[in-house]
Structures are given as structure tokens and as C-alpha cells.
């Protein structure tokens, strides 16, 4: 019985250590850092797959997107500010897609914190969001990203050797499509 007791105490201690060490991954992503590991499903929609330069099925990591820069918006269909900013973020997508110089260098995705596929679909349809959105139903990505408030923007630069770093991040305060694009171009060195 004593052995069993010792074993259980060891399990508790080990678990406590693991839990206490968790906050290291529990802070918002910042400039100069790498993204936490985020696995997303390769879109079933072929337009979205082509947009991201992905093929096949299964999971992918954000640095695998064929682009020099990826803008990530962490949003929620339940977030009033995300709703308010949605048309402006759509406009950012169009500004990029209509500019031949940057079209293939900058991609935009959204991660729906706490949103199911259905809820992400409601948001996508409601605002006619033209770029890929991914559900994060159980807040797993949101937790890995330090439980940021929404909308939260992360700009990631992907290097030719496959490495990456965050070059800009901001909570809310979306300034509009053109000013935000300027921020992205400057932070990523494209301009």
C-alpha cells in the first residue's frame, strides 16, 4: 500500500511540475518569436487550398503555407469588434489580391477561437469572408497563443529555409486595410 501511495504522490508531483511549466507557452505571441505549434486541417475547398499553396489532405503548419508572409487573425464569431472589423479585413485581402507585386507574397487566414465549424461558417457567410477560416472549437490554439483577446493579429515572416518569425502582433485597434497593409509591408521587409 505504501508503494502505491508513493507512486500516486509521484504522479501528482510530476503533473504539478508539468502544469506549473505551462505558462511558458501561455503568453501572447510577440515580435521576434516563433509561432506556437499550430496544426490546421488542409482545406477541403480547392480554391482555399490553392490560395495557401497546399495539396492533399491531413494537417499542415502555418509556415508550410506557400508565401513570404502570413497574416493571422484570431477572431470569434461571438466578438463584436471582430464583427465590426470584418469588412475592413476583407478589404485587406482584396488590396493584396489586386496587387500583382504582393499577391503571391502575403496570405491571410483566420482562426476562430472557441468557434465550431458551423459557427465559423456563420461568420464566413455573414461577412462573405474571402480568405480561409479555421475553427478552434476547444480553444486549443487560443490557449497556445496566450488566450489573447480578439481580434488579435499576428504577422509571420516565412524564410526560404522554412524557418519563420513573428514580425508584428497587435490586439485590436485595426486601423483599416491600407494602413494595416503598410504595417505588414514594413514589418516584413517586403517594402
Amino acid at each position: 500500500m505504501k508503494k502505491l501511495l508513493l507512486c500516486l504522490i509521484s504522479i501528482i508531483l510530476l503533473f504539478s511540475i508539468l502544469v506549473l511549466s505551462a505558462p511558458a507557452t501561455n503568453k501572447p505571441p510577440e515580435k521576434g518569436e516563433q509561432l506556437p505549434v499550430i496544426n490546421l486541417p488542409i482545406p477541403k475547398n480547392s480554391d482555399e487550398r490553392n490560395y495557401l499553396g497546399l495539396s492533399g489532405t491531413g494537417l499542415f503548419k502555418i509556415p508550410q503555407i506557400k508565401s513570404k508572409v502570413v497574416i493571422i487573425e484570431i477572431f470569434s464569431m461571438y466578438c463584436p469588434y471582430c464583427q465590426k472589423d470584418a469588412p475592413g479585413v476583407n478589404e485587406l485581402y482584396r488590396l493584396i489580391e489586386n496587387n500583382a507585386d504582393i499577391k503571391d507574397k502575403i496570405k491571410l487566414i483566420g482562426l476562430g477561437a472557441g468557434n465550431s465549424s458551423y459557427e465559423v461558417g456563420v461568420y464566413k457567410n455573414n461577412y462573405s469572408v474571402p480568405f480561409p477560416l479555421f475553427p478552434d472549437k476547444d480553444f486549443e490554439i487560443h490557449k497556445a497563443c496566450g488566450e489573447v483577446r480578439t481580434p488579435y493579429f499576428i504577422v509571420v515572416k516565412i524564410n526560404e529555409d522554412g524557418t519563420h518569425q513573428i514580425v508584428h502582433s497587435q490586439l485590436g485597434n485595426y486601423p483599416g486595410a491600407q494602413p494595416f497593409l503598410e504595417i505588414v509591408l514594413k514589418a516584413s521587409g517586403i517594402k
Partner: protein
């Protein structure tokens, strides 16, 4: 003695695992800045339902934020009704739930339904809180006085005086067709409510 210790240890491990593993849906929108009062994790359900599906929904008349009084019976024969009780203004989860419904109006109109949002807060509090959500398309009703009387009649008033996070779908005949007294710490998935509304057509 040893058996008792063992039970305590197993219980401790269980609690630890639950605390770490259970995801909690916070009010994460930046719209509320630092104005959301964090409640911590609460007992999932703390009341006993007094109604069930198939029964006639108890009528009520409550004041709304926009000024007029709204009764359940005014929709009888005209609209299906979804009642969304949320526990309290300026608290996590509640502060996100209605803004989501606000962009899901189509789901309600396609099923010939109206949404009534109810909390036990008073009108000025509801006015300030819902102003942060944008322009809501549905009435927000105050079950403040007599305190929580409607929530009490439905059996969704918790022991601390707030309501459960509960959804009731009532058809045009006034019959309760769906009840979800949800874990207060979590937001009910929208697809579940949409599914319940779809079933009204059958």
C-alpha cells in the same frame, strides 16, 4: 485509514486533471476591455427545471431595454420563440453569446422564430452592457423585479440569484419543444440551437 488516504489522493488527482483538461470559454472579445468580471469556474447547473418539453410554456410580461413590455403570449400563433436566459451582464461567456446570435439572425428568421434575451439584471445595467454588443435585432428583457420571477417559474434560477445559461424553444402553439440548461461555464454551440429550430418544421 490507508483506504481513506488513497481515496483522497485519487480525488485530488481527479480534480487536478479536470482543472487542467477542461477548456473554459472566456469572454474574449476586446470590445469589453477590462470590464468583464471573472467568475471562475462555477457549478455547471444549480437549479431544478420546473417545466419540460411538451408542456405549455408559462407566460410572462417583462420590460425590455428599448422601453416596451414584451409578453410571451404576444407571439402565440405568429412566431416560434427562442428564450435565451444568460446568467448576468458583464460576466464571461454571457458577454459573447448574444453578439453571436446577433449575426445569426437568418437562422431564426428562416425558422420563423424570434429571440428573447433575458437576464435578472435591471434595465440600466442591461442598457450599458448591450450597448457594447452593437445594435441587437432582438428584444432584451429584464427579469429583475420581482427578482428572477420568470427564471424561477421555469426552474432556472440559481441559488445565488442569477439564472442558468438556458435555451428554450417554444413553438407557435406555445408548447416547449427544446430545453438546454447548459453548463453555465460554457457557451451552447449554435448548431444545437439551429438543429432544434429546424426540427420545428417536421
Amino acid at each position: 485509514m490507508e483506504k481513506k488516504n488513497l481515496s483522497i489522493l485519487i480525488l485530488a488527482i481527479g480534480i487536478l486533471l479536470v482543472l487542467v483538461a477542461v477548456p473554459i470559454a472566456f469572454a474574449i472579445s476586446d470590445a469589453y476591455k477590462g470590464n468583464i468580471y471573472q467568475m471562475g469556474t462555477l457549478k455547471p447547473v444549480d437549479s431544478v427545471l420546473k417545466v419540460k418539453t411538451g408542456q405549455t410554456a408559462p407566460d410572462f410580461v417583462l420590460p425590455s431595454v428599448s422601453g416596451e413590455k414584451v409578453s410571451l403570449n404576444q407571439f402565440r400563433g405568429k412566431k416560434n420563440v427562442v428564450i435565451s436566459f444568460v446568467p448576468a451582464a458583464w460576466t464571461p461567456v454571457c458577454s459573447d453569446q448574444w453578439p453571436g446570435y446577433n449575426i445569426a439572425k437568418d437562422i431564426f428568421t428562416q425558422n420563423d422564430a424570434i429571440l428573447l434575451g433575458i437576464t435578472v439584471d435591471n434595465i440600466p445595467t442591461l442598457f450599458a452592457w448591450t450597448n457594447q454588443m452593437g445594435q441587437l435585432w432582438f428584444p432584451v428583457l429584464s427579469d429583475f423585479w420581482p427578482h428572477g420571477a420568470v427564471a424561477q417559474r421555469y426552474g432556472v434560477l440559481r441559488s445565488n440569484g442569477v439564472s442558468e445559461r438556458a435555451l428554450f424553444v417554444i413553438d407557435k402553439k406555445g408548447i416547449i419543444r427544446y430545453i438546454d440548461v447548459h453548463d453555465i461555464n460554457k457557451r451552447p454551440p449554435l448548431e444545437d440551437l439551429a438543429g432544434a429550430l429546424e426540427k420545428l418544421k417536421k
